[in-house]
Each structure stands twice: as C-alpha cells, then as structure tokens.
Amino acid sequence: MKQLLAASALLSLALGTAAQSARTDRAAIANGESAFMRVGCFTCHGTVGHGGAAPRLAPNTLPLPGFTTWVRNGTPGWTPASGMPAFPVSVLSDADLADVRAYLASLPAPPPVAEIPLLAP
C-alpha cells in the first residue's frame, strides 16, 4: 500500500510538472509574441516571422545561443540606415529574448507551395 501511495504521489508530481511545463511554454510563447511586437521585430520580419524587409525567422528558428548572439550584436557594421540593429538588454531582456525565440519556434511551417493553388506555376 505504501508503494502504491508512493507511486501515486510520483505520478501526480510528474503530471503536475508536465502541466506546469506546458503552462510555462504557453506563457513563454505568449510573452514572446508580445515582446516581438513591442520592440518592433515584426516591422522587418513580419508578425509571424515570415520575412519582409528582413529575413524569415520561422520556421527553422536558430537555436537560442545563435539567436541570442544575432539579436545582441546585429549585423556587423549596422548603421541607422541599414542592417539588423543590436538589441541591448535594456531594451529586450534575456528572458524576453528567450521567449521571443520560443514564440518563433512555436509557429507552424506554411503549407507546401504545391498545395497553394495561387502559387502554382
């Protein structure tokens, strides 16, 4: 009986952790989307990271270390006239940056071109 109770407790803990993790992911994604819009990433990259004046960010978003390096440093030699600017921590915190990446990574891939009649050759 003791073993059963212990197993039950473990299962509850595991389920609780998974639920907590899922909540955390959803919160991270929501916060990431909010930060993505707030600091204006969408201006160049589009609201779903599909690209525009700047390259596409989703799907196949860079892993967090590379993503962070890129956001923190920008394009080498960027100026007020051109290039990806560097976002300092004072503008986008590390936590928000990670959430932005989580948001982008959560976005689904588009349908294949072959399945979009308007893009048929």
């Binding site: 589009g46 609201t47 779903v48 599909h50 525009g52 004046a53 976002f87 300092p88 071109v113 050759p121």
Partner: protein, 615 residues
C-alpha cells in the same frame, strides 16, 4: 472679385507694354485659322470658330493659347483652379468645348503634377498642367521633383501677374512673383516667362520639344494673367513642332561596346530607365537574346519581361556590365574594378544635369561612358553584336543563356516558396495580397500603375510596357495615389484595368486624388497596403534608438497611423469611390477583388482597404 480689365477696355497709354490692340481684329480669327492649316501634320489645327467673339471684336489670347495646346495634342488639363490662369481655363471650357484638353479638376497641385506623371508614363507624352505661379507651384514642387528625378516630361503652365500695375489688390501681390520659375528651376529642364503672345507661342512649343527630348523632364512656362485677356494679334501663328531625334551612341562607341560584350564570358545588362517606349522593351529583349545575357532590371520602368528566362543575372559575377540609363551605378563600378571587370554606361543623363539636387548619384568610375539615349542606341548595338559574333561564340552564348535561365527558374521557384510563408497570416501578407490580385487579373488587359510592393514583380507575368510604370522618381511620399489615377486615366481609352497597391501613408498625403477618380470615372482598382504606420521610418527609428541604446516603446507615437485607425473604405466612399474593407482575413480577399474588378469594368474606381503586414 477684383475686376479684370475687359478686352474692349485698352490699357492706359504708357502702361500697355504689348500693343496687341493695334489694328482691327475682325479678320484675326479667320487669318489665324488659315495659318494653322499650314502647320505640320502633328499640329493639325482642331479648333473651331468661337461661338462668341470678344466684345472688342478680337479673339482672346487665351483662345490662341488653347490652340497651341491643341496643336501639341494635349488631351487633358490637370489643374486646381486659380484666377491667374482663368483666361486659359475659360477658353478650355467655352472655346474648346472642354475637349482636347479636357479640364480635370484636381484638389491639390501636387496631385495635378503627379497625375501628369502617371499619365506621361503610360502615354509617352506630357499633358497640360496649370497652376498659380506662387501658391500653386509651391504645392506642386515635390511632384515636380519626382518627375525630374524620374525623367518624365511634365508640361507646367504657371499663371502670374507680371506687371505690378495690373495687380489689383493685396492678394494679387501675394500671388505674384518676379521670377516664378526660380522656385522650380533646380528640377525643371527649362522655363520661360514670355513677354508677348508670339513669345508665348514659341516658348510653348519649345517647352514641349525640350520636355520630350531625352533626357526627358519637366518644363515650366509662366503665362501672364493679363496677357490671357488681351486680343490675339492678326499675325499670331503656332510654330511648327519638331522634336529632335534622340541622341544615339556614335558608331565608334557602338563598335567598341559590341566588341567587349561579344568577348565577355558573363556579360550582364543592368537596366534602370532603358526602355522609354514599348519599342524599347522589345529592343531590350532582342539585345539580351542576341547576347544570351541576363538582365538585372532596377524597375524604374518595365525594361524586361519578368518571366523571360533571361530576366535576372548576377552582377557580382559579371565580367562586363552594360548599364543602360542606370541610376546609382557607382557601387557596381567599384565592385567591378575589384575583380577586373568592365562597366559600360550609356545614359542621356550626361547631356543634362543640374547641380543643386543630388539625384545624379555618386560619381561612377566606369570604363566606357557614353552620353547618349540608351533606347536609341540599341538598334545599332544589336546589329554590331550580330555582325561580330562567330558561330562558335553563338554556341557559347546559347550555353550561357541556358545557365542564366536555369538560375532564374530557381529564383522564381524560391520566390514562390518565400511567398508561401505567412500565407494565412492576419494582417494579410503582401505576397498573399499580390497573388490574390494576380489570380483575377492575369486573364485581363491590365496595368499595374504603382510600384510599391515588390511581389508582383517577382511573381506576376509582366510582358507589355504599359503593365508597369515604375515608382516615385525621387521616392517622395504622396506620388502613388495621384500618379496611379493619372496613369489609369490614360489607360481608360485603351480599355485596360488599372490596378494599384496603395500605401496608406502615401494616400494620406493626397487623398483628394480619390475624388478626381470618382468625378471623371477613372477605372482603377485601388488595393490598400494599409500597414497602419510609416514603416520605412519605423525601421530607421529603431536603428537610431538602438544605436543610442534607448527605448523603442514610443515608436507608435512618432510613426504610427493607428489609434485611431483610418477607415480608408469610408474615406473613399465619402468621395464617391465604391469600396469595401477593412479586410484583415486573407480568405475574404478573393470576393472583394472580384467585386472591385466588376466595378472597374463598368468604368468606375473601386477601393479595397486591406490591413497588411508591414512589408
């Protein structure tokens, strides 16, 4: 209203500087018509006898001025009405019966000129624009600069009261200038302030000739307000128009260019405003196919069909670049030098430049610089290339062309993949918007009368010159709406469906263009790219703030066009333009576009407000 001196009321002795009233004028109209019949066929007189002669027995000078405009085949007169050219305006309406030119009311002089810009890019010739020489010209300046930088012929007539004695009150003085064209001289090819009607006639024809000679550009003539109300002298005649043959590259230069191109392994043609006419587009195809060389089109005109296998090329791998009327080529030349490649430039820009405004771009260190019109130079160049090419070279050309075609095919496939991203996004992606439009346009006779969004140029099948007219020459905001309406008015008689993808910020500069489109039943489908901000400047602000490590939180305060959101459908409806939207769901686009095209086919404008992604 301050009274004008009537035509039967001569100026006081010593004041009259023109002496137009000497002699009886009873036979003047008949004599003039007799003289007009003798002018060149291009200027066949189309005037009728005036229904009512002026009370002084003479014919208003402004009637003669309108005859001149008729002889120059001016189809329309774009203007915001003003007292300083009232004589001309009255003659257009009552003497000419409001035909050729037809008076088109614009609600701002910037609209008048930008409409003339769009018209000229479709028709290949200018249209009459009238404005106050002071407050009107001041409004018109940015649109004039756009046309200047874009090599577009604009024919601007500025009303002014030259003689201080004729200025009847405070407003006359406020609306008069000593040298009205000083304001626009930096971005016009030529101007004049004629002192007599004969002088006006010569200058009016000369202005047309200068505007139409490559490099084309705006011209301005001052017309004295009083002169318009004078009597036409019996010996008045319209000078014969003779537009010069465009300057072509000399035979020595042609041989040298052809030699370099034929010997090149990877020649690339770089075209900015190379094609001035539909014939120019055909010549560009002929040149590219003869060389089997890729064409990089910087999209100031339709220089090359977008789906042609040779549309596209790698400037970075070229060993010879042929730049035709080529904009900013300094960087191309600098990079070419680093890899020992050659750059040849043919442009008429060298034949006429002004110094103040810097539209001439950075000095380009090219290997051959030919001061000539590119389009006029192409026939001889193509012929010389053919003459020099051997059979073995022809085979090498063929293989090169196949490589270029393969690369361009892959680029087109990549463009389709790129377009698929964000396909179902809301706000609507500009790619989705473009392809929803294309699906319903592709089987029509269409003309894309604005050049803001790049997707059409990547994915639509542009084959005819009138299908694309470039963009604002000086990138001035406020060009697109009026220029697209002017182009659509030109397209009307050809039965084409004009379509524009209209930026929201641009429309807010000159929304009155919508009213003009409604009033004159201009068939155009305006699809808003409503991204609710000045997004180009947003990007600049972001970089500037981040350079200083400062906040981006106030972006919308300085650059947003939301809060409140502008309801463009209601704006259009308020001016008599049918409309729908705002649409944020891409799945609603198809039905709205179908409805819009149906309205345009009935000969009316229609606007669809689409809330879009920033770019």
């Amino acid at each position: 209203m301050i009274g004008y001196r009537h035509m039967d009321e001569p100026k006081k002795p010593g004041v009259d500087r023109r002496s137009f009233l000497t002699g009886a004028a009873t036979g003047a109209a008949a004599a003039l018509i007799a003289q007009q019949t003798s002018i060149a066929a291009a200027q066949t007189a189309t005037t009728a006898e005036p229904d009512v002669q002026a009370s002084g027995g003479g014919r208003p000078a402004s009637d003669f001025m309108v005859d001149i405009f008729k002889s120059l085949d001016m189809e329309y007169m774009f203007s915001m009405c003003a007292s300083s050219f009232m004589g001309i305006h009255e003659s257009v309406l009552n003497y000419a019966g409001n035909k050729s030119p037809q008076s088109i009311t614009c609600t701002h002089e910037e609209i008048s000129v930008a409409m003339a810009n769009g018209y000229a890019k479709i028709e290949g010739k200018p249209v009459l624009v009238c404005a106050h020489a002071t407050v009107g010209a001041q409004h018109a300046t940015m649109a004039l600069y756009d046309a200047w930088a874009d090599r577009v012929p604009i024919y601007l007539v500025l009303g002014n009261t030259n003689d201080a004695v004729d200025r009847q009150g405070e407003v006359f003085w406020l609306h008069s200038a000593q040298d009205p064209c000083a304001l626009v001289r930096d971005f016009t090819k030529w101007d004049d302030n004629p002192a007599s009607l004969t002088h006006f006639a010569e200058s009016a024809v000369r202005a047309y000739k200068i505007a139409m000679t490559p490099p084309m550009g705006p011209v301005a003539i001052v017309v004295d307000e009083e002169m318009q109300h004078e009597v036409t002298p019996s010996d008045a005649r319209i000078p014969t128009l003779n537009v010069p043959t465009p300057p072509a590259a000399d035979s020595g230069a042609v041989k040298e260019i052809a030699k370099l191109l034929v010997a090149a392994e990877n020649p690339v043609i770089l075209a900015s405003r190379a094609a001035r006419t539909p014939a120019g587009l055909a010549l560009m195809v002929e040149l590219a196919e003869t060389l089997q060389a890729g064409v990089v089109d910087s999209r100031r005109r339709l220089n090359f069909p977008t789906r042609h296998p040779l549309n596209g090329g790698s400037l970075g791998q070229a060993d010879v670049v042929l730049a035709l009327e080529g904009g900013d080529i300094a960087n191309v030349a600098r990079q070419a030098r680093q890899r020992n490649a050659k750059v040849i430039s043919i442009t008429a820009q060298h034949l006429f430049q002004r110094s103040n405004y810097q539209d001439f771009q950075r000095y380009a260190e090219v290997d051959m610089s030919i001061a000539a019109d590119a389009e006029a130079s192409l026939p001889a160049l193509i012929e010389e290339i053919r003459r020099l090419t051997t059979d073995s070279q022809r085979e090498a050309f063929r293989q090169r062309g196949a490589r270029v075609a393969e690369a361009n095919k892959r680029a087109l496939e990549q463009a389709r993949v790129d377009a698929s991203h964000g396909w179902d996004a809301s706000p609507v992606s500009t790619a989705r918007l473009s392809m929803e439009l294309w699906a319903q346009l592709k089987n029509e006779d269409w003309s894309y009368v604005t050049g803001w969004v790049n997707w059409p140029l990547r994915l639509w099948d542009f084959t005819q010159y009138h299908q694309f007219i470039g963009r604002a020459g000086a990138e001035g905001v406020g060009y697109h709406a009026p220029a697209s309406v002017g182009a659509a008015l030109a397209n009307k008689k050809h039965g084409r469906i004009s379509v524009s993808i209209q930026p929201d910020g641009d429309l807010m500069v000159a929304p009155g263009a919508l009213w003009t489109a409604a009033k004159y039943q201009v068939p155009i489908l305006i699809v808003m790219q409503n991204n609710r901000a000045y997004h180009q400047e947003v990007m600049w602000f972001q970089r500037a703030a981040l350079m200083r490590k400062r906040s981006l939180e106030r972006t919308q305060d300085g650059f947003g066009l939301g809060d409140p959101n502008i309801d463009f459908a209601k704006l259009a409806a308020s001016m008599g333009v049918g409309s729908s939207g705002p649409i944020s769901d891409p799945n609603e686009l198809s039905a709205a576009i179908r409805r819009g095209i149906d309205v345009v086919k009935r000969g009316e404008p229609y606007l669809i407000d689409v809330v879009t992604q920033p770019r």
